[in-house]
């Protein structure tokens, strides 16, 4: 029933590849998240922060999961030819994924979608400082933006939000990349909207927030939109939606966006997953 599938030769020039990448690392990061690193040299070369891969999770005896699962690029090592994913074990697909062992192969399609772009310079020759607002799984998507922005010379502040301190991730990596990391958690009582709003105001006042990026939380999206609108900031948001093809062909992954006065549908897989902050409608 499953396609007897031999990945055909793919010309070097093609942007999207289907590869069976070897799993190099695969471990639990905490009680909810797992980190998987694969060897995928050709794909790593093409991958950009904010893009994703469409992963074929091992199917069980009922052909479940049937669809691929979209997963953001958590880290790209273009030279080493490696790509990492940070994912939360939630349903059938991610549960199946979690069972893959080191040395096994992961069928991945990508890189897909449109990644993050960096803001125009604040003033001639002056890079705009950016703030990243990440909660939960949104972190997986936003993490490579830290390196991208730092590499391009931007000042970066990452506000990392989680339910509890043990679920915080990437704090050290963020700092190691030369970014400021501010951690807030529900259990510490400093992750509510009021708190975050104050943080953002403070960062803006200090001239450290010239652009805003977010992903993963509707609440934080609204907040980021308000602040960006108020201060006229450049901003982007990475969105999620269920996907079938991942390539823009099936139109199952639409979300509603504001386009002037109208509400339009855009496909998250190919018109996103990264969209202009001001155009996103909450969900």
């Amino acid at each position: 029933m499953q396609a007897v599938h031999a990945v055909p030769p793919q010309p070097d020039s093609l942007p999207v590849l289907e590869e069976r990448a070897e799993i190099l690392r695969h471990e639990a990061v905490n009680g909810e998240y797992r980190l998987m690193q694969v060897a995928a040299p050709d794909q790593a070369q093409r991958a950009r922060a904010g893009q994703f891969f469409h992963l074929l999770c091992p199917q069980d005896d009922a052909l479940k999961p049937f669809f691929r699962r979209p997963m953001s690029i958590y880290a790209i090592d273009a030279q080493g030819g490696r790509i990492s994913f940070l994912y939360k074990v939630t349903g059938t697909g991610t549960k199946a994924l979690a069972k893959l062992g080191i040395g096994e192969r992961l069928d991945m399609l990508g890189p897909l979608g449109i990644g993050f772009s960096l803001p125009p310079d604040e003033a001639p020759g002056r890079k705009t400082p950016i703030v990243i607002l990440a909660r939960g799984v949104g972190l997986a998507t936003l993490a490579p933006l830290v390196g991208l922005a730092r590499g391009a010379g931007h000042d970066v502040t990452a506000i990392l939000s989680a339910r509890s301190p043990d679920l915080l991730m990437s704090v050290e990596e963020t700092r190691a990349a030369g970014a400021q990391a501010i951690t807030i958690t529900d259990s510490q009582g400093n992750s509510d909207t009021g708190h975050v709003a104050a943080l953002l105001d403070d960062l803006h006042a200090k001239g450290r927030m010239g652009a805003l990026y977010t992903c993963g939380s509707n609440r934080l999206l609204k907040l980021a939109q308000e602040h960006a609108a108020r201060h006229g900031l450049f901003g982007e948001v990475a969105m999620e939606q269920q996907m079938a093809c991942g390539l823009g062909m099936c139109f199952c992954c639409v979300r509603a966006f504001r386009e002037g006065d109208a509400t339009v549908h855009r496909r998250v897989c190919c018109e996103g997953p990264v969209f202009p902050l001001e155009e996103a409608l909450g969900w």
């Binding site: 010309p11 390539l247 062909m249 099936c250």
Partner: protein, 332 residues
């Protein structure tokens, strides 16, 4: 060397494999050279602009998927101004799929899209006809005949009528489509189905019911393709649950001149290339010089064992004897 060309009416295809409407777009050229396909059938274009159905638009079910995408569409003007020129970059023949709410609107659209650059028109008559209580045209022979006549009058391009498997007697609809002037039939669209998430007690699709496709439908659509191929003289293009070359060969043996692959592309984007390669290899192994030779080349059921059991273990029609007096049944 196997000759993979097939003729769908006056249109010769380099090979019998093409995408199913709604599961292909130019974006697939990012993954492989789509000129290796027999034809490029694109998503249905409607006469009106449409936004499509509420999300969730897809759901997984055992052995397949449900979709209620609907037909988000920017209208025929966009198709003519953007889509047709875009496909000039490809050599494989472009097949436009169209659909409309009434026979007249349908015919007008058909005329509009009959332009250079379009090699054939797939008329998706599996869509609702608002003049018939929203019943799909192809649910019954009469509206099928009526709409096909109008479409035929509206275009000189080859017309492929895409039937719905929700019809009760698809052979009769097939005959009506032929009588109305179809050059080929596509059998078939998705089967209306649904599923429920028992935890939330909600239907999995925003629109409650949607179309089933993928491996689960293959035995049903294969049967319909077989019935249609035996009921008409025009070519039948099989479409439903084809995941690999074996599935495609089943359809061709059942009488299909070509096949369309839909859902499989979502799992393996280059599945169609595997199907082409697999058909070629199978033909070579089985001494088939031209793939068109296997179309409808089905052996008779029975006596010498439908299965490959040991030489000494074959299944047979029970010998008649006195039991011969007892009626073999008409239908199971």
């Amino acid at each position: 060397m196997v000759d993979l060309t097939v003729d769908i009416g006056s249109l010769r295809l380099a090979n019998p494999v093409m995408p199913a409407s709604g599961t292909f777009a130019h974006e697939l050229a990012q993954v492989f050279d789509v000129d290796r396909l027999g034809a490029l059938v694109i998503k249905t274009v409607t006469a009106d602009k449409r936004i499509g159905n509420p999300t969730p638009r897809v759901a997984e079910v055992p052995g397949g998927m449900l979709n209620s995408i609907g037909i988000p569409c920017k209208g025929p003007e966009h198709f003519l101004a953007e889509t047709v020129p875009l496909y000039r970059a490809f050599n494989a023949p472009l097949v436009a799929s169209i659909s409309a709410n009434t026979p007249d609107e349908f015919a007008k659209l058909c005329e509009m899209v009959s332009v250079p650059g379009v090699s054939a028109i797939e008329v998706n008559i599996s869509c609702p006809n608002i003049e018939d209580d929203g019943r799909a045209f192809a649910m019954r022979p009469e509206p099928t005949l009526a709409v096909m006549r109008k479409l035929r009058a509206a275009s000189d391009l080859p017309l492929w009528a895409k039937l719905t498997p929700n019809a009760g007697e698809i052979q009769e609809v097939a005959q009506a489509a032929e009588a109305g002037g179809a050059d080929a039939l596509v059998v078939a669209n998705t089967i209306l189905a649904m599923s429920i998430d028992i935890t939330t007690r909600k239907p999995s699709l925003g629109k409650v019911m949607g179309g089933l496709s993928g491996p689960a439908v293959k035995p049903i659509i294969l049967r319909m393709a077989y019935q249609c191929a035996r009921s008409v003289t025009i070519p039948v293009i099989g479409c439903g649950g084809i995941m690999n070359a074996e599935d495609a060969i089943e359809y061709m043996l059942a009488g299909c001149s070509a096949v369309q692959v839909g859902t499989a592309t979502f799992i393996h984007p280059s599945a169609m290339l595997d199907v082409i390669a697999g058909i070629e290899a199978w033909c070579a192994q089985n001494g088939v010089a031209r793939v068109s030779d296997i179309v409808g080349d089905l052996a008779e059921a029975g006596d010498e064992g439908a299965r490959n059991w040991g030489a000494d273990m074959v299944t047979e029609k029970p010998k008649a004897g006195k039991a011969g007096a007892i009626n073999w049944e008409g239908v199971a």
